[in-house]
Point group: C2
Chain length 362, copies 2
């Protein structure tokens, strides 16, 4: 509890004075004011978060955290649970979606076993073992994990982040792997956003209509059996959460405590972001929403957090794939700030009447 408490205390409220100054710099670059839209917004945001007027995002890291879920025994996923460890081996060999997109973005990945149901038969520098337990318990029958495990999962996420920090981290992406993990994510987000389970529950990796109805019924049962307290994120995480979700909440909090921007991937990462937000609302300003997932409920999470997603690409893979893809456009925003010429340096004439009226977007 000590690590978590200290991390929460370190998260500062952002002072927006720097981004106003940055916008003045952006306005003096050789383009009509504001004409690079969200690229300019991203540049200002990274300046605000880091407190650095000339930020670089050379060191990009995606944390892909894995865990298993007791609720899979109810048949809520289209894939068998052995896929969780199998995909970890795939991450380590470099053949998964996140490997391809992280390489494309120039990001490295850190894979974390937060609670896979079996012992992994591999050692690798990319893989960190922070196994809280061998999968969660079936939340339809009682808490998914103990309160102590919930806290330890968040703290393990913080630890992983802190262990990786000496290798350089300028921007962080969140990623998940865990067969069945849209189910706890739907439960968490339904509780925290106070929306009905049906609004927050989708087809995950691809279940049919009957399985979807069953999934909704099970989530409703898990909530009624466990009665999580929406105001107590640890209670929510322990009763209907997952180890990788706790770990990712820890990564989000750790990044904010270090003033490092954190790119939130999809639906499971969104549920982790909600946990982090309930623990410390200030963390929201350190988040950048990578994309809006196909998984219904994700848009509701983003609205709840006041985040506008960068991409809308019909993604629903997880692993951090959306976060890695978004990093490429975020980096473009930083480069605009760093590399573009000013009207003066390029000897380009400015607007005819700079003080005409306010530009209203046409």
């Amino acid at each position: 509890m000590d690590i978590l408490k200290k991390t929460l205390e370190k998260i500062e409220k952002i002072d927006y004075a720097l981004s106003e100054k940055t916008q003045k710099r952006l306005d003096n670059l050789t383009k009509p004011q504001g004409s690079l839209g969200r690229l300019e917004e991203l540049a200002g945001k990274i300046v605000d978060i880091t407190g650095n007027e000339n930020p670089s995002i050379k060191n990009k890291v995606v944390f892909t955290m894995a865990g298993d879920h007791g609720i899979t025994e109810e048949g809520i996923s289209a894939y068998p649970k052995e896929v969780t460890p199998q995909m970890i081996y795939n991450f380590i060999r470099g053949g998964a979606g996140i490997n391809v997109l992280a390489r494309h973005a120039g990001a490295r990945i850190v894979v974390v076993d937060m609670g896979v149901a079996e012992e992994l038969k591999i050692k690798n520098e990319k893989l960190k073992i922070k196994k809280i337990n061998y999968g969660t318990k079936n939340m339809a029958n009682g808490p998914a994990m103990s309160k102590s495990e919930a806290i330890r999962s968040i703290e393990a996420g913080i630890e992983v982040f802190e262990e990786e920090l000496p290798n350089g981290i300028d921007i962080v992406g969140t990623g998940d792997m865990g067969i069945g993990n849209t189910t706890p994510s739907s439960a968490i987000s339904s509780i925290i956003t106070e929306r009905p389970v049906t609004d927050m529950t989708g087809r995950g990796t691809g279940i049919d209509q009957r399985a979807l109805s069953n999934k909704i019924t099970l989530i409703e049962k898990a909530i009624s059996v466990n009665k999580p307290d929406a105001k107590d994120a640890i209670d929510v995480l322990s009763k209907v959460g997952g180890f990788e979700i706790g770990g990712l909440a820890g990564v989000v909090l750790a990044a904010a405590s270090r003033r490092i921007p954190v790119v939130i991937d999809g639906f499971i990462s969104g549920a982790a972001a909600l946990i982090a937000y309930q623990l410390e609302p200030k963390v929201k300003d350190y988040m950048i929403a990578a994309h809006c997932s196909v998984e219904r409920g994700h848009r509701i999470i983003l609205n709840y957090l006041g985040l506008k997603p960068l991409l809308d690409f019909d993604l629903r893979l997880g692993e951090g794939t959306g976060a890695a893809l978004a990093m490429t456009v975020i980096e473009a925003g930083i480069k605009i700030l760093a590399e573009m010429a000013t009207f003066q340096s390029a000897a380009v004439s400015e607007k005819i009447d700079k003080h005409s009226d306010e530009l209203v977007k046409g």
Copy 2:
């Protein structure tokens, strides 16, 4: 006319058999089917366009074409027209938005003087001179250019493309520079899409409300004075177009004739795409819409062409900036196809019941 005619004849109807085959390959990669959404769509699209089942997009080129516009004498732009050549010098020195974003995307740029109102005082391998004339005439009083100039501008675009082809082109982006060029673009798109001028006219680089009303009145006047024939793209281009718009239409046609995907940037590029489409409707299938611009009317153009933009970043700079940015995500789609492991190669278990029911997006 001969170059244009031959190019139009070479544009083939795309056979979609290859993308169906490609989707089967994508479905066998270690991810739920379709879970990489638009990245998968992009991979299929590039396969279809190129006819190559393993396409690479190593050689990326943005053609940024510049021209001046007689209508600027009516005060329709927020910037003076000397900015057109000044920005060309900026492109050559590498300080403009397109330089930054093209470098980020790993693209090279080719800058073309299609009709700048003054003689450029610079020689550089990046800069091609295809000056059709020293700016167009004021279209509010008569045709912007002669029919022969309209054809020559399109053919010059084709020539520039063909001259660049030996240096390697796997994907093309369109870009524009020309103070005042949202005005002819609004006129062209209003005529071709048959929508009122008010729907197609925005604030360009940032004019005020009074200047916007004046701009609309002038475009309506230009249309009523010139009476362009919506079915005759050459007539439309000559009466209310611009040299860089004609040149970009040529680039689009040339790319399609060579089965090379062409990334359409924003509003001005959209108007050029409309000209190309009116000349040969099959060209549409070779286009990828980079983004949806702030400039109103752009969405109408995209709908008319049946194109769904990749990004929605509130961009309104032109130059090819949106196209360059989009290239980074398009390349990600190609890498997914090329680099991801299959279920077999990674020894990952497949879906429990592959034949359950059809996945409906949740």
